[in-house]
């Protein structure tokens, strides 16, 4: 077990336990992270542990693992095991796209999936595979039990935008409300100001 701050090198893989505050999401992660995705990943971490380290590039910016990062934050975990790479900023952008793309290139082997799922606790199966029809599955049902899952290799899939996603790196035009601890006044501040300035002053406060 790596101790906090200690860098472990095995073969050509460098790993360390970093606190979440040292880890930075990419400002323009090209994936939407939905709350649903975070919930599933959080459940998986709670049930099966944190088995796959976050992958970081220069300045500890996330290359792979934005959803896990949010899930860990929600779980109140202080730190996480990370792989430290030395990809340049440009390589990092390429890698993020390619990593997500290669993950899409495999698909479900539906017969085997059904075989595996038969051994599952029903609640667990439903948690991760809500589209599953357990009744049909138990009756030895055919592929109809796996309504909606995409089998086989599915290159080029899933290029549809998704709205309403929880994004780590929202547009800089978005605002954030802060409440003054002294007088309780709520005021809005732009993300750009928060990022760029050392001192920010409230815009027009919201009257209580």
């Amino acid at each position: 077990m790596a101790k906090a701050g200690e860098v472990l090198k095995v073969g050509n893989v460098k790993m360390a336990v970093l606190t979440l505050n040292e880890i930075r999401p990419h400002w323009n992660n090209p994936r939407n992270i939905t709350q649903e995705a975070v919930d599933k990943v959080r459940a998986s971490i709670e049930m099966y542990g944190f088995n796959q380290p976050l992958i970081l590039g220069n300045d500890n910016v996330i290359l792979a693992g934005h959803t896990r990062y949010v899930a860990l934050r929600e779980l109140g975990v202080k730190g996480a095991l990370c792989v430290l790479t030395d990809l340049s900023s440009e390589q990092a952008v390429e890698y993020r796209i390619i990593d997500n793309k290669t993950r899409e290139m495999t698909g479900w082997h539906l017969d085997r999936l059904m075989g595996e799922l038969r051994g599952f606790d029903e609640k667990v199966a439903h948690l991760f595979f809500p589209e599953l029809n357990m009744g049909e599955l138990e009756a030895g049902g055919g592929l109809g039990a796996l309504n909606g899952l995409v089998g086989g290799g599915t290159p080029g899939s899933s290029f549809q935008g998704q709205e309403g996603a929880l994004s780590l790196t929202q547009p800089l035009s978005r605002q954030i409300t802060l409440i003054c601890p002294e007088c309780g006044l709520e005021a809005k501040y732009s993300r750009a100001d928060i990022l760029e300035s050392n001192q920010i002053a409230g815009g027009r406060g919201i009257e209580q």
Partner: protein, 206 residues
């Protein structure tokens, strides 16, 4: 500085370098792995390194990383760093499915992908996407916003990119920001990173 870490959530895995032929694919791996996927992953390992170690159970059976395993074989690797989980096999059998499934809950954000693609040499992506798919993605950008992202907007993104990549040090994110209350004039401090992580509110107008 010592920090209290919740070890249960960190290191359910050990890392070790093992002979590639000491690890074995799971006999009932519920994923179909096309040759094309193996080639793409092999290329990615060559171009960007072996960054995501394969996860195996304590018997050396692959939990996640079947495609990486095949890619490394193809590349002729003999020794490979792997993550080893000592959790019960039955749990890891469930995790194998859950892990493949959770990835399906997120999808591309096309406007952001467009920005990312404009930040790099698109030719480098072509071997992974194929020429046809890549062109169709680029075409969808044009359709989603006629003319794509306006140049001036892209310039702003590009500038952000530079400052965010190079000047946004870890210290900057963790730094306390001084806030002046417009009501009472009181100064208070907030940590930049904590508030930037909050869910979004409405757009600024004007």
């Amino acid at each position: 500085m010592t920090r209290k870490l919740n070890k249960d959530k960190l290191g359910d895995v050990r890392i070790a370098e093992v002979d590639l032929d000491k690890i074995t694919p799971y006999e009932n791996n519920p994923r179909v792995i096309l040759e094309e996927a193996v080639d793409a992953v092999a290329r990615s390992i060559t171009d960007y390194g072996y960054t995501e170690p394969i996860l195996v159970d304590h018997n050396g059976v692959i939990v996640t990383g079947h495609t990486r395993f095949l890619a490394l074989k193809k590349l002729g690797w003999e020794r490979v760093p792997v993550l080893i989980s000592d959790r019960p096999i039955e749990e890891l059998d469930e995790y194998r499915l859950a892990d493949n499934k959770t990835g399906e809950y997120s999808a591309w954000n096309l406007p952001k992908l467009e920005i990312e693609m404009r930040l790099v040499d698109v030719e480098k992506l072509e071997p992974y996407f194929g020429e046809v798919a890549l062109k169709s993605i680029m075409k969808s950008f044009v359709q989603s916003a006629p003319g794509g992202i306006p140049d001036e907007q892209f310039e702003r993104y590009a500038q952000n990119r530079d400052s965010l990549f190079h000047n946004r040090s870890e210290a900057h994110q963790k730094e306390l920001l001084d806030v002046v209350c417009s009501g009472c004039g009181e100064h208070f401090k907030v940590r930049r990173q904590d508030i930037l992580m909050r869910p979004e509110e409405e757009e600024t107008h004007g």
